[in-house]
């Protein structure tokens, strides 16, 4: 089975792009399933089910969804194998600009949209910078010039990635994207021993452990203070 990891900021168009891409696969008889990781809430499973796609979801609740992703992707992978998918696509909400759910030797796609502002590419960390393919959505509502400037900013922070424009509403560009995702050669039996592309930050402070009170005496562990001097 192929695993493809898709990540990106909230509402950037991940589900829309995945749905359109799967449409192309269904026409070619390639069987695809989806596993969705989010933090507090998602309706995406309903959208996938409506399109006749097998889906499972996991909500991380109090954890960073990317940390939750790594701890659960092996099980999700096993589910996909049991279902006999040709491709399992994971969709994760990129809520924390520091973490990313990308694994070495597994295709990594970052979905961002043209409306997010031209300084967004430099604000997003490894989720954008270590992706193999960057999909830019919502090009239908901005000018050609803004699309060009945005794509060039993305290319500047990640020159190694293939940058593609996909329209999540009409599906324009999704067939082309589909040709880059599935590759029989890249079939994997197991994720055991594979590594994340980028470490996730070492964060373990009292707030990670459920502390809610504000004040120095409640702060323990890995705590860092802001510098307000000029």
């Amino acid at each position: 089975m192929n695993l493809v990891t898709v990540s990106g900021p909230p509402s950037s168009g991940k589900t829309a792009v995945i749905l359109k891409t799967i449409e192309s696969y269904q026409k070619q008889g390639i069987y695809v399933g989806v596993i969705k990781f989010d933090c507090l809430y998602t309706d995406d499973d309903i959208l996938y089910e409506k399109a006749g796609i097998k889906v499972r979801k996991g909500l991380s609740g109090g954890l960073c969804p990317d940390h939750y992703f790594v701890s659960n992707i092996e099980e999700a992978f096993a589910w996909g194998q049991k279902e006999k998918f040709d491709v399992l696509i994971s969709e994760s909400a990129g809520l924390c600009n520091r973490c990313s759910p990308y694994i070495k030797e597994i295709k990594a796609i970052c979905v961002i949209d043209n409306l997010s502002g031209i300084n967004t590419p430099r604000k997003i960390g490894p989720m954008l910078k270590s992706a193999d393919i960057v999909v830019i959505t919502k090009g239908d509502i901005v000018s050609q010039a803004e699309r060009e400037v945005f794509a060039s900013r993305v290319n500047t922070v990640n020159p190694k990635a293939v940058v593609m424009h996909v329209n999540g509403l009409t599906g324009q560009g999704s067939f082309e994207l589909s040709t880059l995702l599935y590759d029989k050669e890249l079939d994997t039996d197991s994720l055991k021993g594979k590594q994340l592309r980028f470490s996730m930050p070492a964060a373990l402070c009292s707030y990670c452990l459920g502390e809610t009170r504000i004040g120095e005496e409640f702060q323990m562990g890995n705590v860092r203070k802001i510098n307000l001097e000029q």
Binding site: K129, D140, V142, S143, T156
Partner: protein, 333 residues
């Protein structure tokens, strides 16, 4: 790059500065170091904080320099013609037109019912299809099998798009906006080009605007005029795809002839008779296939004046309504 100081590197490749900047590196005071020496000044903890690893940064920089050099080294207008070689329609039957070539300076309209495959045809062109899309069509550029760079390059796209529902979303003045776009296209004579774009945009738009106007407060007509003139002058893409351009506030005929004067190929998906008849030919799509290619006839062209006259009348009615007038049967004469 191994033994070159950052200073020498930037002298040779000025654009490398934006790579470092966009990756949030501040090199001031470190210019004498090589890039590797500079990256080695960060502690493991700082690297973790900024989320980078040195090897990827160096590799990325090499790749970026390579791409930009190839972008700068190219002839500006190397596309003279585009050829579509027929594939199959949705029922798998072969398209009957054989081969169809479009040259720079031509306007082609694309017509057909919803879902018939207009967007797919445009997609085939943009992706320079090589019998590897659902239509099995093949696209040639200058009569040859094209370079795959058209598929994957960010700076060299074959097709630029202008469409009805596009807006400006950035919070910038016209001048700042054009400057930013020119910067990303790495043009040399920026000031001249910006002046040229605004002059031309004002020529296309009914109401004038200037460089200090915020782009988001331009009227619909002004926005479209600026988009067209900016795309024509700054976008390197040799093919311009127009998805219905609304009539209000802009001289569409002038806009098209302006695009053609920049040696572009213009493709329009439209059912507006005024636009469709401005084209040299029109492609009729049916059931996913190119069903017919019709050359605009002299009779059709001569009708254009009448259609324009009717259109003008409708526009006058619009203006009257806008002014709060009461329409009479004379208003439509």
């Amino acid at each position: 790059m191994k033994n070159t100081s950052i200073k020498d590197l930037l002298e040779k490749y000025a654009f490398a500065g934006s790579y470092l900047e966009q990756n949030n590196f501040d090199i001031s005071g470190k210019e004498e170091m090589t890039i590797e020496e500079y990256l080695a000044t960060f502690s493991e903890e700082e690297k973790e904080d900024m989320a980078f690893d040195s090897e990827s940064i160096v590799k990325g920089l090499e790749e970026y320099i390579k791409q930009m050099l190839s972008f700068l080294g190219e002839d500006k207008n190397d596309v003279q013609s585009l050829t579509i070689i027929g594939g199959t329609n949705k029922s798998g039957e072969a398209e009957s037109f054989g081969e169809f070539t479009i040259s720079t300076g031509e306007i082609i309209a694309i017509v057909g019912p919803t879902g018939s495959g207009k967007s797919r045809l445009l997609g085939d062109i943009e992706w320079v299809a090589q019998k590897d899309t659902p239509t099995s069509r093949q696209i040639l550029i200058n009569n040859e099998k094209p370079d795959y760079k058209w598929r994957f390059s960010t700076s060299d796209k074959l097709v630029a798009q202008l469409s009805q529902n596009m807006n400006f979303v950035m919070d910038l003045t016209v001048a700042e906006f054009l400057d930013l776009h020119a910067e990303s296209r790495m043009v040399e004579n920026k000031e001249d080009i910006i002046q040229k774009i605004i002059t031309c945009a004002n020529d296309l738009a009914g109401e004038k605007f200037d460089l200090t106007t915020p782009i988001t407060s331009l009227s619909g007509g002004q926005s479209r005029a600026l988009m067209i003139s900016d795309t024509a002058i700054l976008s390197k893409s040799p093919i311009i795809l127009i998805d219905e351009i609304e009539n209000a506030g802009i001289d569409r005929k002038k806009a098209l002839s302006f695009l053609l004067s920049q040696d572009k190929i213009v493709l329009m998906a439209t059912h507006d008779p005024m636009l469709a008849l401005l084209g040299d030919k029109r492609i009729v799509i049916k059931n996913g296939g190119i069903h017919k290619i019709i050359e605009t006839t002299d009779e059709e062209r001569s009708m254009l004046h009448e259609i324009e006259a009717v259109d003008q009348k409708v526009q006058n009615l619009r203006s009257s309504l806008r002014r709060g007038e009461i329409l009479t049967s004379d208003s439509f004469k």
